[in-house]
């Protein structure tokens, strides 16, 4: 099958790999933070001894030991957000979004386009929103950020659920890249241009 090989612009290729790195940083540090208290609640408050919503079968092993996880989480979050802003601005200005996500002649099918749009425009913004909603400093300025979710613990729970969805996306994303030809697809995200359209099985 001869596929129309997507030619990714420099901005797309660079932001893709920086985002990959920062996502891994967020994931590893997020798991570390989770292991300080692997239990979720709804509403404003929640702690051991209060009714919980999700009890993960994980030990509370990293309580009081996740300082590095928090440092890494916020450093990665900054890298991810700034990279995302660059990607978003460039996507709007160069019409990359319109061509890739909205055009009928896109290289991707409807389901793929919907998924990518959901990840870029729904899941990532919600992740940032719920993350900021857990900041007592930010919510002193913008209390609506946390009130919209009905409280700090609700925001934390949604933050976790979206993290799970993003990991699922990552798994599907990697398996589809694998099915479409791992070398050629990864190559397309690294090299400048293809001289020839790629023949994939």
């Amino acid at each position: 099958m001869l596929l129309d090989s997507p030619r990714h612009s420099a901005v797309v290729r660079i932001t893709h790999w920086i985002a990959t790195l920062s996502f891994l940083g967020l994931l590893v540090s997020g798991i570390a933070i989770l292991l300080a208290h692997p239990r979720f609640y709804w509403g404003e408050t929640g702690t051991v001894g209060m009714p919980s919503l999700i009890d993960l079968p994980l030990p509370f092993v990293l309580a009081g030991q996740t300082g590095w996880g928090r440092y890494l989480h916020f450093l990665s979050a900054w890298v991810c957000v700034l990279t995302g802003l660059l990607y978003g601005l460039s996507g709007l200005l160069t019409r990359h979004f319109r061509k890739t996500f909205l055009s009928a002649s896109s290289a991707y099918n409807v389901l793929q386009r919907l998924t990518y749009m959901g990840v870029v425009f729904v899941l990532f913004p919600l992740m940032i929103w719920t993350g900021l909603a857990m900041s007592p400093a930010i919510t002193s300025v913008l209390p609506g950020l946390v009130e919209a979710f009905g409280g700090r613990q609700s925001a934390r729970t949604i933050h976790f659920v979206i993290a799970v969805l993003l990991v699922l996306f990552l798994i599907v994303h990697i398996s589809m890249v694998y099915r479409a030809g791992f070398r050629s697809r990864v190559g397309a995200m690294i090299r400048t241009t293809h001289e020839q359209p790629i023949l994939t099985p």
């Binding site: 408050t45 702690t47 996740t66 300082g67 590095w68 916020f74 450093l75 900054w78 857990m134 930010i138």
Partner: protein
């Protein structure tokens, strides 16, 4: 043509790099002057930490108020991390019902002072029902009553060159606040919780409450407050005990 193009590219890249570098240097100088650089700005995580602290400081008008709740929101469970200090002096003061306990205020103040618990309780008080959120993820809501730190600082007369207020407890978890946080109306020296005397595990006889930051910033078992213009000579110079054990000095998120 391609030569010309790459030369032009080289020149633009060079110019952009130079502009970027001098821009960064100027930004660093400005940030330092306006107190936007946290004491634990070094190391690999320092960049993220500085971005977080600087952006949140800029975003918060210095008096934005942490969310407060009504009495119906007060939790039924009030967990604590850590134990009361084993320190001999503390144990003796505790046994004596804190009658002998004193809060010492010194450093860059016009009038170094000493206050008894009864004196603190006699000052104008503030009660607030706020969220105590642990960095681990759990949180509870309680009512705290105490004297605003700003009231004590005004009594002692903070000198103009002061930049930080360092708080020393009877355990090892000393901490410090920048002046905007120290003078913030919700920053309390709390001696009561839910209308009762502060329970020992919650920091008796006096604890800090900084509701715009996470729980670990609200240190317990206070004994001394010192105003300073530098944190370099306190502990390891990182601003509090937290960075010495791996946690950030600023706990706004």
């Amino acid at each position: 043509m391609s030569n010309l193009f790459s030369r032009r590219k080289l020149i633009t890249t060079g110019l952009a790099t130079a502009a970027g570098a001098s821009g960064l240097a100027a930004a660093a100088r400005l940030a330092d002057r306006y107190g936007l650089i946290p004491p634990d700005h070094g190391g690999i995580y320092g960049v993220g930490e500085t971005l977080t602290y600087a952006s949140q400081r800029l975003l918060m008008s210095h008096h934005s108020l942490a969310r407060e709740f009504d009495r119906s929101h007060i939790s039924k469970v009030f967990p604590v991390n850590g134990d009361a200090p084993l320190d001999e002096t503390y144990q003796r003061l505790l046994a004596g019902g804190f009658a002998e306990w004193r809060l010492r205020v010194d450093g860059l103040v016009a009038r170094p002072s000493v206050f008894s618990l009864a004196e603190l309780q006699g000052f104008p008080s503030r009660s607030q029902i706020t969220n105590q959120a642990c960095e681990e993820g759990w949180s509870f809501i309680a009512e705290w009553t105490g004297v605003p730190l700003s009231y004590i600082l005004n009594l002692a007369g903070v000198l103009p060159r002061a930049k930080y207020v360092v708080l020393f407890p009877f355990d090892e978890y000393w901490d410090s606040l920048d002046m905007p946080e120290a003078l913030h109306p919700q920053t309390l020296l709390a001696y009561a919780m839910n209308g009762q005397e502060l329970p020992t595990p919650h920091g008796a006889p006096l604890r800090l409450r900084v509701p715009r930051q996470l729980g670990y910033k609200s240190i317990k078992y206070l004994g001394r407050i010192s105003v300073t213009d530098t944190l370099k000579d306190v502990g390891e110079g990182l601003g509090s005990r937290s960075p010495e054990v791996g946690y950030s000095w600023y706990a706004g998120i």
